[in-house]
Amino acid sequence: MRPRTGTPVTLAASMVAVLLLTLMPLPGGVVEMRPYWAALVLIYWNLEAGRLRHLGQAFAGGLVLDVLTGTLLGQQALGLVIISYLVERFRLRIRFFPPLQQAGVVMLLLFNDRIVQLWVVGLVGDRWPSWQWWTAPLLGMLLWPWVFLALDALRQRERRSRT
């Protein structure tokens, strides 16, 4: 049984970090390669801590991101809801995958999200994304272990300081 004492500080801090990383200015060439931080953090909390498991939470988070980044209202919300659903659906399996395989699954989730986003972009009639845009899931995969380790360490520390 997981202890009821949560880790609200780490959760809040990770959310703030996601906002900062999402809004952070990047040089022109790599803007479209920005990894999908929100998805990475959402996947982590769902898999490892059993937090943010509600689709509604993913939806709300996506809406906030949409407003902040000037995206079509609901576009990222849709993406995050689908990611949240898939993670929840295969949660028990993904949790016990070896790390490499887990990173692969994360990449597949992010790639699937790119396809959802592309669908919206196509419907709206926006410009087709450049090739850099497709490298974001790969970057996400490479970042996953580090996000995982960092958040895990923070969470352990907070829990230890509580008991």
């Binding site: 997981r2 009821r4 949560g6 609200p8 959760l11 906002l19 900062l20 809004l23 952070m24 200015p25 990047l26 022109g28 803007v31 479209e32 920005r34 059993g50 937090r51 943010l52 498991r53 509600h54 689709l55 509604g56 939470q57 993913a58 939806f59 996506g62 809406l63 906030v64 407003v67 902040l68 980044t69 000037g70 995206t71 079509l72 209202l73 609901g74 576009q75 919300a77 849709l78 809801v81 689908i82 659903y85 929840e88 659906r89 919206v120 972009v121 709206v124 009639g125 926006d126 410009r127 994304p129 845009w133």
Partner: protein, 316 residues
């Protein structure tokens, strides 16, 4: 606390059927929202409110990067600065000479217009603003500037850089404003060809370095290199601001209209300092125009481009 209840309620979620229903519900909700946002501008009010609430966050994220830039400027060498000052000084003298000539032309123009009894050209004032560093979604064709309602910036004000029109203010926060660029696929701008006086509408394409003319007559007199100015038909942009240069003209066989590709004169992707144009109150403000200007740039531009052309024949 939501996270706590989230944990306790989680086991109920494992019911696969309920999850699918919920997925369908949120998916539909997202699609409805997107449609509302895209089609009707219904979500505009909500977006404005949310954006204003989020403004402090923008400022906080901006802060470290702004500091970094300032630090970089501090560290720049004395020699480099002196060189830059010299270059700017010579540029200033050249522009001043040109301005002196312009002043005389303006007087001439003023007198001629009085003789003709034509409407006077309004003189423009500018407010300078700086672009913020924040990276919005690469598709949004919006930029943030560091002036807001506290500086008197209003929705719908034209924004330009030193070379030409960049866009118009779309949302205003207290200290920041969001500018929609002319390259946004939703943006339409009534323009006039400088050489021939032909009036048409320039549409954004979604590419930062390209605009389009879609509804030119097949026998149109247009050449690559022609400059386009705002025509002033939308009551948003004053007439005569430089917009773009024609790059290529295409007359596809079997279609009703010729098409032209334009290159915006403003450096939409690189400008750092911009000018927000103060448009003086029009003598005959139409409330309908004001409303549509606030609702969305595309609508206002289209409305007046369709309906306003007869009025203007008399004025100029």
């Amino acid at each position: 606390m939501t996270s706590e209840s989230g944990y306790r309620a989680a086991p109920a979620d494992s019911d696969a059927g309920a999850r699918v229903v919920r997925l369908a519900f949120y998916g539909l909700l997202a699609i409805v929202l997107m449609t509302l946002d895209y089609r009707g501008h219904h979500a505009q009010k909500m977006r404005t409110a949310a954006w204003r609430a989020a403004e402090p966050l923008f400022l906080v994220v901006e802060l470290p990067f702004d500091l970094g830039r300032r630090l970089g400027e501090q560290l720049r060498s004395h020699h480099g600065l002196m060189q830059q000052i010299r270059a700017l000084e010579s540029e200033r003298i050249a522009s001043q000479a040109r301005l002196a000539l312009l002043a005389e032309l303006q007087d001439d123009n003023h007198e001629l217009r009085t003789l003709l009894g034509a409407a006077q050209r309004i003189s423009l004032t500018f407010r300078t603003a700086e672009l913020m560093n924040l990276g919005l979604n690469p598709w949004s064709h919006r930029v943030l500037v560091n002036r807001g309602r506290s500086d008197g910036v209003r929705t719908g004000q034209p924004v330009m850089d030193a070379r030409g029109v960049m866009g118009q203010v779309d949302e205003t926060g207290f200290n920041t404003a969001q500018v929609i660029l002319i390259s946004d696929p939703d943006h339409a701008l009534p323009v006039r060809v400088q050489r021939t006086g032909l009036r048409t509408v320039a549409y954004g394409t979604g590419h930062i370095d390209r605009l389009q003319l879609n509804d030119l007559p097949m026998n149109v007199d247009l050449e690559p290199g022609d400059r386009l100015l705002t025509s002033g038909l939308d009551d948003v942009f004053p007439a005569g601001l430089p917009v773009a240069e024609v790059q290529s003209l295409e007359r596809p066989t079997g279609e009703a209209f010729a098409r032209a590709e334009l290159r915006p004169l403003a450096r939409l992707d690189r400008a750092r300092h911009v000018l927000i144009v103060e448009v003086p109150e029009q003598p005959q403000p139409l409330s309908r125009e004001d409303d549509s200007g606030a609702a969305g740039p595309e609508k206002s531009a289209d409305d007046s481009a369709d309906g306003g052309s007869e009025d203007l024949e008399g004025e100029t």
